[in-house]
Amino acid sequence: MNSSMRKFEEQQKILREQFAERARADAARLDELVAELPNANRLQSLEEMRHLAHRLSGGAGIFGFGEITEPAGILESSIDVDASDAEILNNTKSLTQIIRDTVQIKATQ
């Protein structure tokens, strides 16, 4: 392995860990937002959820967390099409569960 590849791998590892950490925080925030959805400012909460889902969907693939990409994309799309709260709740739970499972395992690899 040449020096630039080594440098890439080192930086990749740091960024990957940072992404994993942020993904866990995003999952926790998504759970909070979806739980408050019936009571809080719905539009504002959905916008934040959409933003988090979009970020997870876009970033997961390049940091090696491909399993997150699809459920994050599904949640983003369901918010975009103004799906029911029940559907958004289901999609959020699926996503946050996968994040916890995947990130926990892969971030330490």
Partner: protein, 421 residues
């Protein structure tokens, strides 16, 4: 080493993790130099200071979209680097919009693949480079094109280049040129506008192609000065004959927008090495002779064109409320008459504006006349020179010199003046 080695790539993303990841990938895998920007302002600063080969723009930025940023880049920089859109979802509408704006490619972040990203960057840079090379080549060819787009004759650059070549490569072997100048072209352009001048010149050139050039070919010495080039030694008599043929071919009548022109030309010839030892000298001798002859030529005294004028039918020139209100009714006329030294009489007669001694004749309707002046109306907008001759056709009178005093739209007020000395 890849073809991307050392390329300078700007990456715009407001997510620092993604920005870090992609720049890491480009630098350490692709050997590229990266410039990270969190927003459009930061990108513009980079573009103003650095020579960037390609820009990667995330579509979802805080407070702006990548599409809008792409549009701003395109409008701000004439030769902007290629732009690749990074999309989260890569949905069809976003992609369509991106291509309409002028993005070169798009990459979905969801399943981002290094090879695909590098290939997209490489292709965008190559295509851009090809596009710039093609543009430069088009410019080069345009500058060196062999034919003129208006006349179809050899272009100025070709003609002058060829004359230089001939002068440089020949010792005693001669070449000759016959220059042709269209008489009064500058006057026509000045009085009737650029597009009328160009139309006349195109017809002039078209008529010249009918001349017997006896082995020569026509080319431009500049936009409106032409020459017939003979690349071989050509006898004086032949040059004289071609000059006469050219003048004959270029003597014709033309009517443009109701204005009649009698076109003529002036020619002169010169030969290498008798009249000059360089291409410039030969050209200048011939041009100067032709221009001197043109300056000495008097305005054409050609006859009036019988059928080419567009006459204003009198029925169309029915009396109307006059904007100036000095002849709208008999009562008004009387009142005006009390104030004026001469009473104006309403008439509706055909008139002709004669410019350059019948070289240009414009039809008009004479609406009012007094002993000191006349009001005329022309069809279409036409601004006559300050002094010209007016002929009132139905009176069978001789043209009288007049001076323009005012013009409101198509109505023109004229004062009769003495014949100029």
């Amino acid at each position: 080493m890849s073809d991307l080695d050392g390329k300078r790539i700007a990456v715009v993303d407001d997510d620092p993790l993604f920005l870090g990841q992609i720049t890491n990938m480009l630098q350490n895998y692709g050997g590229m130099n990266t410039f990270a920007a969190a927003n459009g302002d930061a990108l513009f600063k980079i573009l103003d200071e650095e020579d960037i080969s390609c820009i990667l723009v995330d579509n979802t930025l805080e407070g702006e979209t990548g599409l809008a940023l792409g549009q701003a880049i395109k409008s701000r920089y004439l030769t902007a680097p290629p732009i690749i859109l990074l999309t989260g979802s890569g949905n069809e509408r976003t992609v369509q919009k991106a291509f309409r704006i002028g993005f070169n490619d798009y990459i979905s972040k969801r399943d981002l693949d290094k090879k695909e990203l590098f290939w997209a960057i490489s292709t965008a840079i190559t295509n851009r480079s090809d596009e710039l090379a093609a543009r430069a080549e088009t410019e080069r060819l345009r500058a060196q094109r062999r034919t003129d787009s208006l006349t179809g004759f050899a272009s100025t650059s070709f003609t002058t280049g060829r004359l230089h070549e001939l002068a440089a490569t020949r010792n005693k072997e001669g070449f000759s040129i016959v220059t042709i100048i269209m008489n009064h072209l500058d006057d026509y352009r000045l009085q009737f506008g650029h597009s009328t001048g160009e139309r006349i010149f195109r017809d002039f050139a078209n008529n010249l192609s009918n001349a017997d050039l006896q082995g020569g070919y026509l080319g431009h010495l500049n936009a409106h000065k032409l020459a017939c080039i003979f690349e071989e030694t050509t006898p004086h008599e032949t040059l004289e004959q071609v000059a006469r043929d050219l003048e004959k071919a270029a003597t014709f009548d033309i009517s443009v927008d109701g204005v009649s022109f009698q076109i003529s030309s002036t020619t002169a010839h010169a030969s290498f090495p008798d009249d000059g030892t360089t291409a410039e000298e030969v050209t200048n001798v011939a041009l100067a002779a032709a221009m001197t002859k043109e300056a000495q030529s008097t305005p054409l005294s050609g006859k009036e064109l019988p059928n080419s004028h567009h006459h204003v039918p009198l029925s169309e020139a029915a009396p109307q409320e006059d904007r100036r209100n000095y002849e709208s009714s008999v009562a008004t006329e009387r009142r005006e008459g009390q104030r004026r030294s001469e009473i104006r009489h309403r008439v509706l007669k055909r008139g002709k504006i004669v410019v350059n001694g019948l070289a240009s004749v414009v039809d008009c309707v004479v609406r009012n006349i007094s002993t000191s002046g006349v009001q005329i109306r022309v069809e279409g907008y036409f601004s006559p020179p300050t002094r010209f001759q007016l002929q009132i056709v139905e009176e069978g009178s001789q043209p009288r010199w007049v001076e323009k005093r005012w013009q409101v739209g198509n109505d023109i007020g004229l004062k009769f003046t003495e014949t100029p000395q």
